[in-house]
């Protein structure tokens, strides 16, 4: 299948997979590139690439300062995330449990290439469901609080979600998302979390673990194609690409392990999408026949539809010229993400509630306080 990308998307992906081509970018190309990269949280990544490829002196000064600004922000957020993790481990020091770091913080601990350029706002952790209540009350005693939630949102998290309402320490601002499984409870995916904990790998700091490489890859794909709405999630697909490249070099049997594990966890279809689109967009070197090992795979029609929709949603819209087709694709994928997350009898009231709330928010003039 061929990829049909708009001009501005091509420009973004070219810069990411072939940074040397950036030397041919005009000033107006650069200006647009920065806006697009920022929109999909890849400004920090772009900065790392420009430096790594020795292009820093060829970048227009106004662009260099924006790249610097982007990387400073990324580094600050990563520092805040590491400190928050440090505090969580301190707070749970006496409690014997198993904590697995997820997403950005995990990529940093695993020293995945380019993890230092990843914009990670929240701290994501996975804990055993049996310990969840104890962990939550311990953290509450030591100063973490839930943000004020509507009764509906509270119920949403408690009954249907794979995480509890976000926690924030009273003295800090970093949001801690504590998960007890990897996909919403209402979704058709039933993930055996025990298998993940059994395979988890300890880090230098004994109290925090990482998902095994194959599980880390699978979670990345689940998060992108199951939990998110895919709009502007190019960063997450690039995460997947980075993980695949890094682990496949380290372990000759990686691809076999990955496909076996996806089949075992019954996440084959999602892993298929992950491999397919990572290869299609970022030219990930996925071995030829490896996808055929995944069972079940999406049917031809389904894949054709996803093929039309996913790139339109993953890539940012042109900031000055948004297109209707991209907006439609995003809307369809928004509905899809909800449909696979929850059955219709939950979904319909949920969407009605969300729509009503949006209208209420829009009509109340504004509650923010711009400086």
């Amino acid at each position: 299948m061929k990829l049909d990308l708009s001009q501005h998307s091509l420009m973004l992906v070219q810069g990411l997979i072939n940074p040397d081509s950036l030397t041919h970018y005009s000033e107006s190309d650069w200006e647009l590139l920065i806006r697009l990269a920022r929109r999909v949280k890849l400004l920090g990544r772009l900065t790392l690439l420009v430096k790594e490829h020795g292009l820093w002196n060829q970048v227009p000064p106004r662009i260099a300062s924006q790249l610097t600004s982007g990387l400073v922000q990324v580094e600050k957020l990563q520092q805040l995330n590491r400190w928050e993790l440090n505090r969580i481990l301190w707070a749970l020091d006496e409690f014997n449990t198993s904590i697995i770091a997820l997403k950005g913080i995990a990529y940093g601990l695993a020293e995945i290439p380019y993890a230092t350029g990843r914009l990670s706002v929240d701290l994501d952790l996975l804990v055993p469901k049996a310990d969840l209540a104890d962990i939550e009350s311990l953290l509450t005693v030591k100063g973490w609080r839930h943000r004020t939630l509507s009764a509906y949102d509270e119920r949403y998290y408690r009954v249907w979600s794979h995480e509890i309402p976000p926690l924030v320490h009273v003295e800090r601002e970093t949001e801690v998302d504590i998960h007890h499984t990897l996909a919403p409870l209402t979704s058709r995916l039933k993930i055996d979390t025990r298998l993940l904990f059994e395979a988890a790998i300890p880090t230098k700091d004994k109290t925090i673990k990482l998902l095994s490489p194959v599980d880390m890859v699978i979670h990345c794909a689940v998060n992108l194609f199951q939990n998110n709405e895919i709009a502007n999630d190019l960063r997450d697909l690039l995460d997947l690409h980075d993980l695949l490249v890094f682990f496949s070099v380290q372990d000759a049997d990686f691809w076999l392990r990955l496909t076996d594990r996806a089949n075992q966890l019954r996440l084959a279809q999602i892993m298929f999408y992950g491999l397919h689109f990572s290869q299609l967009i970022f030219k990930t070197p996925v071995p030829g026949k490896i996808c055929n090992r995944l069972r079940p795979r999406p049917g031809k029609l389904k894949l054709w539809i996803m093929h039309r929709l996913i790139p339109l949603a993953l890539f940012p819209q042109h900031p000055d010229k948004p297109t209707l087709s991209a907006s439609m694709a995003r809307f369809v994928l928004y509905l899809r993400s909800h449909l696979i997350r929850m059955p219709l009898y939950i979904l319909l009231p949920h969407l009605i509630y969300k729509t009503m709330r949006m209208i209420r928010l829009k009509s109340g003039n504004n509650h923010s306080h711009p400086r």
Binding site: E27, S28, W30, E31, R35, R38, R39, P60, R62, I63, S65, Q66, T68, S69, G70, V72, Q73, E75, K76, Q79, Q317, P319, D320, P322, I359, L361, K362, S363, G364, N365, N366, H367, S368, H369, P370, R371
Partner: protein, 302 residues
Amino acid sequence: MVVNQIPFREFHLLLLNQGLRVAIGPFNVCIHTAYKPLAEQLYKLYCHYRMAQDEIAEFHVRIVTERSFKNPFKKNVRFLLDGQSPFGSFPQEQALAVLEWGINLAIAVRVNHLLLLHSAVVEKNGHAILFPAWPGSGKTTLCTVLSNRGFRLFSDEFGLMDPRQRLFLPIPRLMPLKNESIAVIRRYLPEIVMGQSIPNTQKGTVAHVCPPEQSILLSKQAAKARWIIFPKWIAGSQSKIEAISDSEAFMLLASNAFNYEALGATGFLAVADLIHSCDCYKLVYSDFDDVMDMLHKLMNET
């Protein structure tokens, strides 16, 4: 090319089509709007700004109009930064205030290659004077007076410091006078160009003052800071200036900055060095002439 060198028609067309690019200190801002009253106000108040149509713009902002949800016969305006809306909609009369706040917000959340102190800055004889203060301490009012009485305006809001060269960069923006300050300034400086008063904003009534032409023309000339003065306007007070310790000044300055924490060690070293090279004071005042006497005395002492 400066804004007042082109006719309004051309100015308006730029705002409508490819965007008007103006140089505001070290940044270029690209502005779009189809709302004509805003175009007219900008034409008047941005008249001295340099146009930068062929240069890279760091900020792409837009003011769009939309129907109010509550009252379909009323129009609201919304600020967009790269197509994203960071805050809600406002009555259309507030368009200029919303645009100016929006640009400030964009600078405050995005710029990290410079240290952003929350401070008014003016310059005289090559030395920058910082007036760091919380909102409501009267820094905009003080800045308006000083910049029209022989001091060069850097900013009424952002102390923009290059952390390596330890230089302050001018970023002369419109100065939004609030509430009683508007009448005070009209009385004290009857000659200055001021936009229309915009009532009922989140900060009360606001009227924008155009920075002096000289301040905009010279906005590429950076300067080192020599004095840091924490001002506080108290009605009817006897003007008083007293030196404060370096450590107190450090805490006041660092705790009232936009991105001091984000810059980490770079920010710490820059602020430490800044405090070290400046004389720091606290100022209480109610009379502008007193303040100018005090400033001239400070400057003559060195």
